[in-house]
């Protein structure tokens, strides 16, 4: 399984969702945000080196806080040297070696987001509960459909208590799961760690587990979480 975590807008929490979902699924998370990486790094080769042909995909995978991470460099020169077309063999090798892969996609709709979606077999779209979020999510879904990545679910991130997510699942035709606003998530992410490792009793850990199950179930266009209950 190669699961893309996408969302047209920046700052909605794609990286946070990707890291925590990968932890819940014991998957490898790949930071494909080539120009603005934000998953924890570390020393040694990174995705820029892999996409520039300077390192193999497997040697760039590291364990960070108990999660396998293929992080991305943070230099503009590294981004320019990357051939985004190499993302397909890279993700396929990582999947073959380690199993499930979660790809943290960049915002926007340029080639780096598109190639990740083209390689992924399913996509989870992250959005915030704002008026601008749904159109951006719809555009991302349109691109994902064009590229054969089925929409497995919508993650409504930083949702206020009691938010009804059914309008998100209706608008996007896929199950929607709310992840509540949480200080535990924010402080764990600041450390570059999944919240389940930092604060295993936080209520939000259950929400990420539900998100992980939903996205791992695969594309289920038209079915909502409440239909299942």
């Amino acid at each position: 399984m190669i699961l893309a975590v996408a969302g047209g807008k920046g700052g909605v929490g794609k990286s946070t969702v990707a890291l925590n979902v990968a932890d819940a699924l014991a998957a490898t998370v790949v930071d494909a945000d080539l120009a603005m990486a934000d998953l924890p790094g570390g020393r040694g080769p990174d995705l820029h080196d892999v996409l520039a042909g300077r390192a193999s995909a497997l040697e760039a995978v590291r364990s960070v806080a108990g999660v396998r991470v293929l992080s991305c460099g943070r230099t503009l020169a590294g981004a320019r040297a990357s051939d985004v077309r190499r993302l397909r063999p890279t993700l396929e090798v990582v999947e073959r070696e380690f199993g499930a892969v979660v790809v943290d996609c960049p915002a926007g709709m340029a080639a780096d987001a598109g190639v990740a979606l083209a390689v992924a077999d399913r996509v989870g779209i992250v959005c915030e509960p704002t008026a601008f979020a749904v159109p951006a999510a719809v555009r991302t879904r349109a691109l994902a459909r064009e590229l054969d990545a089925g929409l497995a679910g919508v993650v409504v991130n930083r949702a206020p208590d009691g938010l009804d997510v059914s309008r998100f699942s209706q608008a996007l035709g896929a199950p929607a799961v709310a992840v509540p606003e949480s200080d535990a998530v924010a402080s764990a992410q600041a450390q570059g760690r999944p919240v389940a490792r930092e604060d295993p009793d936080a209520p939000v850990v259950d929400a990420f587990a539900t998100v992980a199950r939903t996205l791992a179930d695969g594309a289920t266009d038209g079915r909502t979480r409440s239909d299942e209950a």
């Binding site: 807008k9 920046g10 300077r54 981004a79 990357s82 077309r85 340029a110 080639a111 083209a118 590229l147």
Partner: protein, 158 residues
């Protein structure tokens, strides 16, 4: 039925080739041109990716009935040879044809096509620090400037 005319010119150590393919038959034809030259073949590029139909050995293109198409490429080699290796029309493949291998494989969707259609994500050259141009994997942090320049509409939802 298919005419291929090649014209070359050489400037500054680069050979520029212009190929005109004329289809004088009454049906649309797919034509495969194989380029042989002692050096790299530089196909036309769109957003940094070889234009549709091009691969390392040549180009596959479709020419309308009675139509003419032009393609061009460059190479550092001083001589080039362009040969029509396959032609495919509605009636099947003409005798000399083998497989008219396009640039896409069966593994859809085509990643090259995605890059061609969506465009580069890469920061502009002008934004890349000059002093680090030769230093691979320099550690200069870039998040701040990159975020400021991203303009991805983050502020709208606030």
């Amino acid at each position: 039925m298919i005419d291929v005319r090649v014209r070359t010119s050489r400037r500054d150590g680069v050979t520029f080739a212009t190929v005109v393919v004329e289809n004088r038959s009454s049906e649309r034809r797919r034509v495969r041109l194989a380029v042989s030259c002692e050096g790299a073949l530089w196909p036309p590029r769109r957003r940094g990716v070889p234009a549709a139909g091009w691969d390392a050995e040549g180009v596959t293109l479709t020419v309308a009935a009675g139509g003419v198409r032009g393609v061009g490429f460059a190479t550092p080699a001083s001589t080039v040879d362009v040969e029509r290796v396959a032609t495919q029309g509605r009636g099947g493949v003409e005798p000399e044809a083998t497989t008219a291998a396009g640039s896409t494989d069966a593994n859809a969707p085509d990643v090259d096509g995605v890059v061609r259609a969506l465009g580069s994500f890469a920061p502009p050259l002008a934004a890349t620090p000059r002093e680090n141009a030769g230093a691979e994997g320099s550690d200069e942090p870039v998040e701040q400037g990159a975020n400021a320049a991203s303009g991805d509409g983050d502020g709208w939802g606030a």
